[in-house]
């Protein structure tokens, strides 16, 4: 990397882990390009917010073009935006699984694809996707969500091979439940049962997610790609 500040794109920066990551990496000297459906109140000289739906191809392409126009580079993409929904499969309307796949799978795919186009020019890039322990734990009530994240793991593994020659690594972090809005609607008894299945039975913290991301995006992690790290010993 040159002396110029590194540039990172993070999806879903209005709140939760995305917001936390944006603030952290701004403090670390990154230029952060964030996005969410609504406006964000994060103000920093090196932060720019894009209002968009991550599943809207045109909007994603426009955001990436704006990044290229402004900085001529993109070092890191964190595909953080995601939605979850808990429902028995027999009660899950098609519209719900569509919405989940649009954000979690199509959004991740579009951002990763467009980011790789920018990263390929400089033969350097780090892409981190977000998986979930709901997939390996086969959580009842999470079929649509876990399936969407299983797709993210597959995208991660195959894309890693396809872009390795461009100096780009693609990995995924699989958090345990972290107290954010995403798990807010899940009943406490369910959460307790889930956490009991982890090797280390506690809630994840945002700092735990950050730790894995920081490992993946280190310059020295150029031999680490196509991996999904699940937290909590799942």
């Amino acid at each position: 990397m040159s002396d110029q500040k590194p540039v990172m794109a993070i999806t879903g920066t209005r709140k939760g882990i995305g917001r936390f990551l944006a603030e952290h990496f701004l403090n670390q000297g990154y230029i952060v390009e964030g996005c969410s459906r609504g406006e964000a109140d994060l103000e920093h000289d090196d932060y720019r917010h894009h209002c968009l739906d991550v599943a809207d191809e045109k909007s994603v392409i426009s955001m990436m073009h704006a990044i290229y126009r402004s900085h001529k580079r993109l070092d890191v993409l964190i595909n953080n935006a995601g939605i979850a929904s808990m429902n028995h499969i027999m009660l899950t309307p098609k519209s719900q699984i569509e919405r989940i796949f649009e954000t979690n799978v199509y959004g991740t795919f579009l951002f990763a694809r467009e980011a790789a186009k920018l990263m390929g020019r400089r033969k350097y890039g780090r892409i981190v996707n977000t998986a979930t322990v709901a997939t390996p734990l086969k959580l009842e009530g999470e079929a649509a969500y876990a399936a969407s994240k299983a797709a993210v793991v597959s995208l991660t593994e195959i894309m890693a091979r396809e872009v390795a020659g461009l100096g780009i690594t693609v990995n995924a972090v699989g958090p345990t439940p972290v107290p954010t809005d995403l798990v807010g609607s899940v009943p406490q008894a369910k959460m307790d049962a889930l956490i009991a299945r982890q090797a280390i039975p506690r809630y994840g913290e945002m700092a735990d997610v950050l730790n894995v991301i920081e490992f993946f995006i280190r310059k020295e992690s150029d031999f680490v790609t196509g991996q999904t790290i699940y937290m909590g010993g799942v």
Binding site: I61, H65, Y68, K117, L118, G120, R121, K123, L166
Partner: protein, 97 residues
Amino acid sequence: MSLSREQAVTAIYEAIDELNPQLDGISLERSEDTILFGEGAALDSLNLVNLVMMVEQNIMMETGTEVLLASEAAMSRKRSPYRSVKALADYAAEVAA
């Protein structure tokens, strides 16, 4: 926003200039006859993809025109638009029209 054929050729030449130092032991010529894909091509598939993406970005930067050079329509053509510099310039000007 529009794209002339000359602008398309310029965008391709600029991408070639940027890509050449990254290529092992080969160098693409700045010529419309340069073969990019298929028999006689110097580029492997990953470098071809990278070149096409660079051309898309160069066109957008220079003319403000967003062209999609990697599309299902492009892939399914009998005569590949990636065959040569000339074919790619023709295709870029065509899809931008």
